[in-house]
């Protein structure tokens, strides 16, 4: 068939057929190579994290996508249409000036007014040196209790906003905890230390916009309140009617306390798994 082999000669048929075939193969190859190249470029420019999160966010149930301003009582009802990216939300400034309303009821669970809270149930605490400390928030800690194992990133590793910061395993279930901020890991802790990661943020911590996407103060109250409502409904005994208790203290280590619940769904809703 090929030049050099006995009796071969080019005909128009050969040229047409082979050029068409190679054109097709080339196009397929270019398509795949192009997708691969763009993928690697996405990772280099940290655009990959954005893509992943936006896609995951779109797959979340509506109830997990409530706008923070609704949680804070600033607006009646609003679903976030911007993947919780308050830094680049056109409506943010419009809503942020409205007053926070809502119950002053006792939640039965603590949260710190000095910390920023991420919707994936982590807290973030800026330090004086321009770094931040990140930990698992109180509600999540009550839920998971003491994890069976924790897989932390290495020192020097870059993590991206809303991507996996660390993994925990409990009772055979794996939880991927989303990172509240993008930056470089400069220290790792664990459940004993009360914090999990020390991060050097990629953006300037002095700039208020850097933490704009995180909840703080009274907003956290409204959010925790909704989360507790959700948990009570999800963790109730099957066939019992929906009831929302008021007052009382949240039981620690709920995964062991209520093993028969649908933890798959509970954990997915809590840690914003798609």
């Amino acid at each position: 068939m090929f030049p050099g082999i006995d009796g071969f000669h080019w005909t128009l048929g050969h040229i047409l057929f082979l050029s068409l075939f190679f054109l097709v193969v080339l196009t397929i190859f270019i398509t795949v190579a192009s997708a691969a190249w763009r993928t690697s470029r996405d990772f280099k420019t940290h655009n990959a994290a954005d893509l992943c999160w936006k896609s995951d966010f779109a797959e979340l149930p509506v109830s997990d996508r409530r706008c923070r301003h609704e949680l804070a009582g600033r607006v009646m009802s609003r679903t976030c249409d911007n993947a919780f990216d308050c830094r680049h939300c056109g409506k943010y400034s419009q809503f942020a000036v409205l007053p926070v309303t809502g119950h002053v009821s006792r939640l039965g669970i603590e949260y710190s007014p000095d910390r920023y809270y991420h919707r994936g149930h982590t807290w973030l605490e800026p330090s004086d040196y321009g770094t931040v400390k990140v930990g698992l928030d109180e509600l999540a800690t009550h839920l998971v209790g003491r994890p069976d194992s924790v897989q932390l990133p290495g020192i020097g590793q870059e993590i991206d906003l809303n991507q996996t910061a660390w993994r925990m395993k409990k009772n055979g279930k794996e939880v991927l905890v989303r990172a509240p901020i993008e930056g470089k890991v400069i220290g790792v802790g664990g459940p004993e230390q009360g914090w999990f990661l020390k991060i050097q943020p990629r953006l300037d911590p002095a700039n208020p916009a850097t933490f704009r996407h995180l909840l703080r103060g009274a907003e956290v109250h409204g959010w925790f309140s909704r989360e507790l409502e959700r948990l009570q409904l999800q963790l109730r005994a099957p066939n019992s009617p929906a009831a929302l208790a008021d007052g009382g203290v949240l039981v620690p280590d709920l995964m062991n306390a209520v093993p028969e619940a649908d933890w798959d769904t509970v954990l997915a809703d809590t840690f914003l798994e798609a």
Partner: protein
């Protein structure tokens, strides 16, 4: 204490209800057994040779080739739906797109698997690429089907990577997103390749000067069967998709696509089938009056052998051609699911009958004046291998349905009540 029930819940998309793992495994069991038997039969053929089949020197092609052609015709829904959605921008068919890709992938990979057993020397398959004969339709088929299987795999990958756990791997997920952006290119390539290989499969028989029953004239180097096969494939593809989707809906007990999708598929299938019937009728008249007599064969000779009499021709064109086409085109049919699916099944049967006539009947008929009409019954190895392919298809589809988002996103499901 952790729950002791074995569950694969973490692999199933959130908000999606699927049957319990034990029931699912129970469903898979008979298909796995069928697959195992099929693999064993295929292994026998590969180890001992094709004497394990009932094919012989006069029936060089048998059950496998007939089923290969049939599967590929039915799997045409994949490329055609992709063409309609991405090239013609008919977004109403988007809900059926993923399932079309999976069905196409199953059909083509199954066909290629059977072809590898069907040839006497499978390890020499690459010879066709190294010494291609540009005059041969089979060369064209080989090239196009190989490329198209690659395209289908590339179209299947994004669906696979959207699995709940796999999407957590960022590199896979971002690659999937980027590939998804380029999917119109793949759809265009897929359409081009499919056009050619569906046609060439018809051309395989239309060029057989030595088999006047199958031989047709046409346009330039392409016999009329080239175009008839393309038409019949795109007519049967949507019908087959309807049947598959309806079956899945029945088995799972839930509505998976809007009724409008069925309506549209029925219209497309009916219209194309009607055009095909018209074209085939003209082609048959030309063949009966011109092509066959000029080779010295009076057409009555071909239909003089029972059971392959003229009722088969009638069946192909009218009973399983014109009739289902009319039913599918008739608006009210879509209101009765049972009638709709019967029409779809009849359309698919018509196309399968056409493939059968060209593969099996062609070889049964005499060519030399002193030949006799031959018969052939496939051996159990042939039947079992094919049963294995069907089982493979059901298993792959079941796994895809369970673990992958085949039927649209479920982002709106609420979880608060813990249902």
């Amino acid at each position: 204490m952790a729950s002791t029930v074995l569950t694969d819940r973490r692999w199933i998309a959130r908000g999606e209800e699927r049957t319990s793992l034990s029931r699912f495994l129970l469903w898979l069991t008979p298909w796995t057994v069928l697959l195992a038997i099929g693999v064993y039969a295929a292994a026998l053929c590969l180890w001992y040779g094709l004497n394990q089949t009932n094919m012989d020197n006069r029936f060089a092609f048998g059950l496998w080739i007939f089923l290969d052609l049939g599967i590929i015709a039915l799997g045409a829904g994949a490329f055609f739906t992709g063409f309609l959605v991405y090239i013609l921008k008919r977004s109403e068919l988007k809900p059926i797109l993923n399932t079309a890709v999976v069905v196409g992938f199953i059909c083509y990979s199954g066909a290629v698997a059977i072809l590898m057993i069907d040839v006497g020397q499978p390890l020499r398959a690459w010879f066709t690429f190294w010494h291609p004969n540009t005059h041969s339709m089979l060369t064209e088929v080989t090239f196009c089907i190989s490329c198209y299987l690659l395209v289908l795999s590339l179209e299947y990958l994004p669906i696979l990577f959207r699995n709940r756990q796999l999407r957590k791997v960022p590199s896979l997920f971002v690659f999937e997103r980027q590939l998804h952006m380029l999917v119109p290119v793949l759809a265009a390539i897929g359409t081009l390749l499919s056009f050619f290989h569906q046609g060439s499969l018809g051309g395989l028989y239309g060029v057989l000067r030595g088999r006047p029953f199958a031989f047709r004239t046409g346009i330039l180097i392409w016999p009329s069967t080239f175009f008839l096969f393309i038409l019949s494939a795109i007519a049967s593809g949507p019908s087959f998709l309807m049947l598959v989707t309806a079956t899945v809906e029945k088995v799972t007990g839930r509505r998976l696509v809007p009724q409008d999708v069925f309506r549209r598929l029925a219209f497309i299938s009916g219209l194309l089938l009607a055009i095909y019937v018209a074209a085939k009728s003209i082609d048959t008249l030309v063949w009966l009056n011109v092509t066959s007599p000029s080779a010295g064969f009076a057409p009555w000779q071909f239909y003089a052998h029972k059971p392959f009499g003229t009722p088969i021709l009638f069946g192909e064109i009218v009973l399983f051609g014109l009739l289902p086409a009319s039913l599918l085109l008739y608006r009210k049919t879509a209101n009765h699911q049972g009638l709709l699916l019967t029409a779809a099944a009849m359309a698919c049967s018509g196309i399968l009958l056409n493939r059968f006539v060209l593969t099996v009947q062609t070889l049964a008929l005499p060519t030399l004046p002193f030949d006799e009409f031959l018969s052939y019954m496939p051996s159990w190895q042939e039947i079992a291998s094919f049963g294995g392919v069907i089982a493979y298809g059901v298993i792959v589809y079941s796994l895809s349905y369970r673990y992958l988002p085949l039927f649209g996103s479920k982002g709106d499901a609420s979880h608060v009540s813990g249902n």
